[in-house]
């Protein structure tokens, strides 16, 4: 039903080199490596250490990198002192003893590169898109990735080489874990500015021609490209004009051509990729425009990693999965039918996120009021979903900390469990203090009675959820 195809490739794949079988770490402990690397890239190969939970990254020591060797060893050593605690980043644990160059790190099991989710095949895209988990899974993984980057940036660091190869995601479609690997190029912002590192096609324009070095702004450019690749299955700068010649492609990547979705210049439109109305929503469109239009050559105008995380999480919450068995499609609840199999959208309930403003503080004066948001949580029959702090707090340091578990019975009842540490309030339409729901306790309410769930007291600004039902379109 949907026809979408991927752009033809130019780059040949790399072949994996064969390495040594035993190395030693800096304490002299021998590490026996498996014969074949888990994977290899431009800088080195990663091996599983036999019978352990560790992996070894072995940096290729080719002639031409010989000179770099020393500083590289020093840099790897310094890496261990950067504030990466608690972040899902495969950190170096120990350096390798000479003559080898590299380090040991935790082995990430059951994780796979994000590359297959970002690099579209040349032919038909729909099967590929759905087999990678479709829209919802992509949004959730991208949101997690943006979140990790936001925390990294918050601690004053730059990742430098963000590309799908350096992002590992849960191999299982049921999970949405994200880890960054290849920490070799992480640096504090001040020292990152002195160099320009990156993966072709994911690098910010200012890095190509040496106008500037790596920064949080070049990181968020890479992030925006990754988001576009994963969602639209197409490169935001390589449209049909850029694809005409190698020179045009170079100009596009250097920021000299309009991006494919430019609001006023359609010279470089793309006829490839997943149609945008299937996979984008206003908030994401806006961020893409800020990143590739205003922000193309003005790094300061690019959306921050935090803005991306918020928008991507919010978008994921608005998706639902097709109810027809065998169809793996997921799509925004705005559509009446599944775009992949044309089945009617299933019934759903929506927990709408609003902000409560206390009395005497709004434009109209005395009454307490509410500010609507464009955020909500889609609830499908009997599929529990957690509202987290990003729904229930105005500002939070732990966006993904669970606040309340919500389950809709498919009819008129919503079950709530308080997963937080403070009481919640269930308030009837007539207002008042409502009934308290203590931490770890459960309650049920009827949607038709128009109650709402408050995450704060009425004399303070706070978030609240109201519940609404939407019926499927009957054919």
């Amino acid at each position: 039903m949907i026809t979408a195809h991927g752009r033809a490739r130019r780059n040949p794949p790399l072949s994996a080199p064969q390495g040594p079988t035993t190395v030693a770490d800096s304490d002299g402990h021998p590490l026996e490596l498996e014969d074949r690397p888990i994977g290899s890239g431009g800088q080195g190969s990663v091996y599983r250490v036999r019978q352990s939970r560790f992996a070894v990254k072995l940096i290729h020591q080719r002639e031409e990198t010989e000179g770099l060797g020393d500083t590289l060893a020093e840099r790897l050593d310094r890496l261990r002192w950067l504030p990466m605690e608690g972040l899902p980043i495969a950190r170096p644990i120990r350096s390798l003893a000479p003559p080898h160059l590299g380090y040991t790190m935790d082995l990430l099991d059951d994780m796979a590169s994000m590359e297959p989710l970002c690099e579209a095949p040349e032919g038909d895209l729909v099967e590929w898109y759905l087999s990678g988990g479709g829209l919802e899974r992509r949004l959730r993984l991208l949101a997690r990735l943006a979140d990790v980057l936001a925390v990294l940036h918050g601690r004053g660091m730059v990742y430098s080489d963000l590309s799908p190869r350096n992002v590992l995601v849960s191999a299982s479609q049921q999970h949405h874990q994200v880890w960054l690997i290849d920490p070799d190029n992480i640096a504090v912002e001040s020292s990152a500015l002195g160099r320009a590192i990156g993966t072709p096609r994911y690098m910010a324009p200012e890095l190509y021609d040496g106008r500037s070095g790596n920064s949080q702004f070049s990181d968020v450019f890479s992030l925006a490209v990754l988001v576009h690749q994963a969602l639209r299955a197409d490169h935001p700068l390589i449209g049909d004009l850029a694809d005409l010649s190698v020179e045009n492609e170079r100009r596009a990547l250097c920021g000299e051509l309009p991006w494919t979705g430019h609001s006023g210049d359609d010279r470089n439109r793309s006829e490839c990729g997943i149609p945008e109305d299937l996979v984008l929503i206003a908030r994401i469109r806006r961020l893409l425009r800020d990143a590739f239009e205003a922000g193309l050559n003005e790094p300061l105008k690019r959306p921050t990693a935090r803005a991306w995380a918020n928008a991507l999480y919010a978008a994921a919450d608005l998706t639902l999965t097709c109810g027809r068995s065998g169809c793996r499609g997921s799509y925004y609840m705005l559509r009446n039918r599944c775009p992949y199999c044309d089945a009617a959208r299933p019934d759903f309930a929506l927990a709408m996120v609003r902000t409560h403003l206390p009395a005497n503080r709004g434009p109209q004066g005395r009454e307490p009021g509410r500010v609507d948001s464009q955020e909500g949580i889609v609830l499908l029959k009997d599929q529990p979903v957690n509202a987290t702090q990003r729904h229930t707090q105005l500002i939070t340091a732990s966006a993904e900390a669970p606040a309340a578990r919500l389950r809709w019975d498919g009819d008129d009842t919503v079950h709530i469990e308080n997963l937080g540490h403070v009481p919640l309030r269930r308030v009837p339409p007539s207002g008042g203090a409502g009934r308290r729901l203590m931490p770890r306790s459960n309650a049920t309410e009827r949607i038709s009675s128009e109650w709402r769930l408050h995450f704060g007291e009425d004399d303070q600004v706070h978030r609240m959820l109201s519940f609404h039902k939407y019926k499927a379109e009957r054919a």
Binding site: R361, S373, D459, Q460, H468
Partner: protein
């Protein structure tokens, strides 16, 4: 809406972040959003006070958001917040600036440090003021190294309704200002209409 912006030396760009630069962009885009609002509810009027060095200055006189052009603020010197509170009160007393406006006044205080002047009497006078007391007051604290004193002045300014909005890094400011913009400009609804699904995809 009057923004009271800290332009003290600690807001200067350093190797890690450019607080003053980010703040300039946030305020400019907030005012642009106000200017683009449909005018059914009336126009938002905006102005700004910058406090740094030894004084608080009127950085942008109060006027319609559509006509405001944001001149970038520069940082340096102390944190004369008390002087900024005094200036805010003077503006609220100016009938040109506030009379007949469609919206109740809103005061946004943004700071990353401790006032270097005697702020308490000035704040008490502002809060005791006819309009200052009932204005929507929001304070934004930037950075994680704020002392209890710095926190105290922000908390007293905003009162318990809003508390202090915290941006641990300057990079969190844009999202925070986006929320402030939404809050000030959203249609204020007493009821809870069922949402139109299309609204979730509105630009």
């Amino acid at each position: 809406m009057i923004v009271l912006a800290d332009v003290s030396g600690s807001m200067l760009p350093n190797q890690l972040e450019d607080k003053i630069g980010v703040l300039n962009r946030c305020i400019a885009s907030m005012f642009t959003a106000f200017a683009q609002m449909d005018s059914v509810q009336g126009q938002v009027h905006v102005g700004a006070i910058a406090f740094g060095r030894a004084e608080a200055r009127l950085h942008l006189p109060v006027g319609p958001a559509a006509e405001a052009v944001w001149p970038a603020m520069e940082a340096g010197g102390g944190t004369p917040m008390g002087a900024a509170f005094d200036l805010a009160r003077e503006i609220l007393d100016d009938p040109e600036a506030v009379s007949g406006r469609a919206f109740e006044p809103a005061l946004i205080l943004v700071s990353d440090g401790v006032p270097t002047d005697d702020w308490e009497p000035a704040l008490n006078e502002l809060l005791g003021h006819r309009l200052g007391g009932k204005a929507m007051r929001i304070s934004v604290g930037i950075g994680t190294d704020r002392t209890p004193d710095a926190e105290e002045v922000l908390a007293q300014f905003s009162g318990p309704e809003y508390g202090v909005l915290r941006a641990d890094q300057a990079s969190e400011l844009p999202e925070l200002f986006r929320w402030i913009t939404d809050t000030v400009t959203s249609t204020f609804r007493p009821g809870l209409a069922a949402p139109n699904l299309e609204d979730f995809d509105r630009a």
